[in-house]
């Protein structure tokens, strides 16, 4: 039980390391990492929120238009 929890945390750490390596944040200073991550989080959360609010209405009106 403890072993699987440890492995899960290791996996999360591995994912975090992949994020840092692929976006080259691994070589940046901590405040630069925070800046870029905040920026990325802002963009993604805005996109997700817009999708969440507007998509159902868009899809419904598209179905209405084509039917």
């Amino acid at each position: 039980m403890l072993e699987s929890v440890r492995r899960f945390f290791k996996f999360i750490h591995w994912l975090y390391l992949q994020y840092l390596l692929n976006t080259a944040l691994y070589m940046l200073e901590p405040w630069e990492r925070a800046l870029f991550s905040a920026f990325l989080f802002a963009i993604i959360s805005t996109a997700l929120y817009s999708a969440f609010v507007f998509l159902p209405h868009h899809v419904r009106s598209m179905i209405q238009f084509y039917s």
């Binding site: 591995w14 390391l17 992949q18 840092l20 390596l21 692929n22 976006t23 080259a24 944040l25 691994y26 070589m27 940046l28 200073e29 630069e32 800046l35 870029f36």
Partner: protein, 527 residues
């Protein structure tokens, strides 16, 4: 989607008897996977954006400038165009702790790396005093002669007692000692040529002797991936330089035909001579040159051939005599053999070998003959003793054992890396093993993680390689035992999983435990 450029040896009708290793010539340069290229470019874009932000903060004064400032007064023009350029400030300095690492012991099969820490993100370093013993996978110590005990170093020490350290003179003045003649004779015998001349510095051998061989009105055709010393020598000579694609015989032939048909650029006069410059083993790619085909072309179009065997002498070939031995060609077919003593012989310096008339000409006209110091006694005696061991003149077969050990090690290491799913460039027999990393942050990650696991490796990025093709370059040595190689492979396997370096589309990615190691062990013992 990803094409494999596999170049197999083509059979030549009149020389098939000489090519005994034709079926073993196997070179691969797998193409970059698309997603990897996209993410690499994105990574560089993010780094550039943040670099601009930091430069802006530095210029308006929020952050203080830590690079060296122009010391001239304000109304002078700047001494250097870009005083410490953008790349160095913002990309190189961030991971500067993995480059230029100081060592504290002899750089043999194992080396002690000095540990450094930095408080201000690599602008300044402090030594902790701790030494990290690691397996040395970065030195060009191909035959394992870089050691501080043994017959070579004893001879070197005795020579200091007899000859002192320096002749304080150039070759043309009083610098030609008895041991220089001995070295040159021995080297000529080793390479099976008429004569040889040795110089104190390998880089300078190229840079200062190509001007003696080519000049205005000549054409130099050099491979695109040639070393800087060859490019510098070619530029210094004043000849016209044209490049052909790496190891591409068709392109070389096309360029040759073009040059001969059209002549010199403005006047259309025929070229005075054409010199083709190739290297035996290319140190960043690990590829071998296709010597028999180049010799055939050179004879057809009557050009001269200059082969730089810096990394291949002593390390390639069944008797260790370089690419000439590997391809089994006649040494008289190559006009100018060049090589260095730095890599396989554990010393310093370079040589040029060939016909006696050529060497006599170089003895007089080389710049280093009258402007640079002749070689020092311990350096020369290290080479002489290493050469006698390799040639078997000391009575043992230690030399042949070393050469075979190197070939075994190379084969063992390379095959396992390729089977694990890494992209490894180059020929199967070259002792230089470049494994691709591509992304800038992973350069630092691989180096630090390998050092934590006890392997000192060399990771290279821009400007030694293309911007998006950074790699980690392993140099296998005959001094590495099987346990050391196993340790290095295990470490590389872990690091490859941690950093996700298994890019290959051709070989399925496998962990080290999943490989069938009995096969490799059998192959290692039997070779």
């Amino acid at each position: 989607m990803t094409a494999a450029k596999k170049s197999k040896k083509t059979d030549m009708k009149n020389k098939s008897s000489k090519l005994s290793v034709s079926d073993q010539f196997h070179e691969e340069f797998e193409e970059t996977p698309t997603w990897t290229a996209v993410i690499t470019v994105l990574g560089y874009a993010i780094l550039s954006l943040l670099g601009w932000l930091r430069d802006f903060l530095r210029n308006i004064g929020i952050e203080n400038k830590k690079t060296s400032q122009d010391p001239n007064p304000k109304n002078f023009v700047p001494l250097y165009q870009s005083y410490e350029c953008f790349y160095t400030r913002n990309l190189y300095t961030r991971i500067r702790d993995v480059f230029n690492q100081p060592i504290a012991s002899v750089a043999g099969a194992t080396v002690d790396v000095m540990e450094r820490i930095s408080d201000d993100f690599n602008w300044t370093f402090k030594f902790t005093g701790k030494k990290l013993p690691s397996i040395n996978l970065g030195s060009y110590n191909y035959l394992g002669f870089a050691e501080n005990s043994g017959p070579c170093s004893e001879q070197a020490i005795k020579s200091i007692e007899k000859y002192g350290l320096t002749t304080c003179s150039t070759r043309h003045e009083l610098g030609t000692q008895k041991y220089m003649i001995e070295l040159e004779d021995l080297m000529a015998k080793y390479l099976n040529v008429e004569d040889c001349i040795a110089f104190g510095m390998g880089f300078a051998t190229n840079a200062l002797n190509i001007p003696a061989l080519a000049g205005k009105g000549d054409l130099i055709l050099s491979d695109r991936l040639n070393h800087t010393s060859l490019i510098l020598g070619a530029r210094l000579s004043g000849a016209v330089i044209r490049t052909f694609n790496h190891n591409d015989i068709k392109d070389l032939e096309f360029q040759l035909r073009n040059a001969i048909i059209h002549g010199q650029p403005r006047t259309c006069r025929p070229w005075k001579k054409i010199l083709i410059i190739v290297e035996g083993v290319y140190s960043m790619e690990g590829s071998l040159c296709k010597l028999p085909e180049i010799i055939e072309i050179k004879k057809k179009y009557k050009a001269y051939l200059y082969v730089d065997e810096a990394h291949s002498i002593g390390a390639i070939g069944s008797r260790g005599r370089g690419v000439v031995d590997y391809w089994n060609v006649d040494p008289d077919d190559i006009d100018i053999h060049m090589g260095t003593f730095t890599k396989s012989f554990g010393s310093a310096g370079g040589y040029i070998a060939g016909k006696k008339s050529l060497i006599d000409h170089i003895r007089i006209y080389t710049h280093s003959g009258c402007y640079s110091l002749s070689m020092s006694a311990p350096v020369v005696y290290q080479i002489i003793s290493a050469l006698s061991i390799i040639m078997g003149l000391d009575g043992t077969n230690d030399g042949q054992k070393r050469i075979q050990q190197l070939a075994c090690n190379v084969r063992y290491f390379r095959r396992q890396l390729v089977d694990m799913g890494f992209i490894v460039y180059g020929n199967d027999n070259s002792p230089v093993v470049p494994v691709m990393i591509f992304m800038p942050a992973k350069i630092a990650a691989v180096n630090r993680e390998m050092l934590k696991r006890g392997c000192a490796v060399v990771t290279v990025g821009f400007p030694a390689t293309l911007l998006t093709e950074s790699r980690v370059r392993f140099c296998i040595s005959a001094g590495h035992t099987k346990e050391m190689l196993d340790h290095a492979l295990k470490a590389m396997d872990e690091v490859g999983h941690l950093v996700s370096l298994r890019y290959s589309n051709r070989n399925h990615s496998r962990r080290w435990n999943e490989l069938n190691r009995a096969n490799y062990d059998n192959e290692y013992i039997s070779c």
